[in-house]
Assembly symmetry: C2
Homo-oligomer: 277 residues x 2
Amino acid sequence: MQSNSQSRDVFYVSDGTAITCETLGHVVLGQFPFNANEKTFPFVESEEKLEKLLKEIEGSYLRTGEKPLVFFSIVLPQLKAMLLDSPAHCYDVIDNLVQKVQNDTQMTPMPQLQRSRSVGKDSERYFDRIAAIEYTLAHDDGITLKGLEKADIILLGVSRSGKTPTSLYMAMQFGLRVVNYPFIEEDIKRLRLLPEFEIHRHKLFGLTIDPERLTQIRENRLAGSEYASTEQCLAELSSVESLFRREAIPFINTSTLSVEEITTRILEKSGLRRRLL
Amino acid sequence: MQSNSQSRDVFYVSDGTAITCETLGHVVLGQFPFNANEKTFPFVESEEKLEKLLKEIEGSYLRTGEKPLVFFSIVLPQLKAMLLDSPAHCYDVIDNLVQKVQNDTQMTPMPQLQRSRSVGKDSERYFDRIAAIEYTLAHDDGITLKGLEKADIILLGVSRSGKTPTSLYMAMQFGLRVVNYPFIEEDIKRLRLLPEFEIHRHKLFGLTIDPERLTQIRENRLAGSEYASTEQCLAELSSVESLFRREAIPFINTSTLSVEEITTRILEKSGLRRRLL
């Protein structure tokens, strides 16, 4: 069978969730010109599960005539040896770094099964994370302004500037308690800072966005509406940005940023410390 | 100054969010016996930003007498060279893998600045992800049972079995549209499947949890309540698990699992495909 250089089979394999393998694999493959046909094999902790994977690897090799790429992290030596013996290009995403750290620090690593943010090991971290998610859900979209003293940060911005996904990501990934408050049409006309926010000024952070992008996002939601019109978007953004400047509220433009990038830039600019790392 | 082998300064550095560096660094350092004093430097894209980091590295080296560990991913060669020249043990989390893939595939990589799930490049993915988060928020905790035909999966379980955080993570990380529905006290006494779920049977997935763990979690929320009592937890769990068995609804026990692990196990067991990868 002829190999197709534009496409490769790729497997992410781990004795844990394989989320780290996926993340790293995506970054690495993003630098290569082929399309990846991706498949993930989590919790590969037994020979039985490994056999399933090995069949897929062999199938892929027979079908395409090319060895598939395998990004993996497996601790048990016999499973690892079986995988390395298969007709695949295998990349251990952790081991190489562990060896280098061992050489540099002269300390002996203790390999352990991958447990991402495992509950058993650390119940307090678990509760912190869940509490952050709950607080953030309860304070989404201006639902309530009670309990602001417990907030780590208060995000302000017009509708569809990215507040809700960013808030949830901050809570989930970093354990932060996030309030987000939308400026709505009535506010826009006579924009001022709510009195509730006055004593929490140091927690305020603004999101803004290019008018063209905002129109595009709102059109996606409510096509042809006044809400999505260029005039409305322009008016809202210009009055919100004036408020941010007038009140010296730090802000960033989210137009071309992913949720991860918005979050990281906010942490960087505000100096906010992550509760979970 | 005496070095302290129980503690090391660690920096995560990237021209992107540095989230991949952090994730990988945590896994690697999890195998070593020292405590990590961690600090993250995202968006290191200019000499000016790099200089700040280099000062911290030098300060750490002078203060502790030991080179700090740096997990990094930087594309621009002059910045990378400056970093490698500093008094630190530097680990490029991507480059080594890129070189191996290059050798194995005989394809030339095109290095690019790290852009995690970047918006500019892929607007459709952005909208899919936001739509999944919105759908999932709108269908959290049984708020509504409308639009079930658009759901990718429907999670069932008693209060505090992990439904909400899992649903949000599935939406955020994999772009899945998740409904979650809690069994409440009135349901528990005469437990049956809601008629709304009948035609969506194939989407149903149950979460259960050990009674001791459920009591602990509920105590954390409402100490001393009937709701948190061992009897109540036992009764709810036993009737929910019977329902799962009777109706042949697949389910998992979340007691010792993180949100990432619950999500991955659900995907594995249900065969559900990720919308984003």
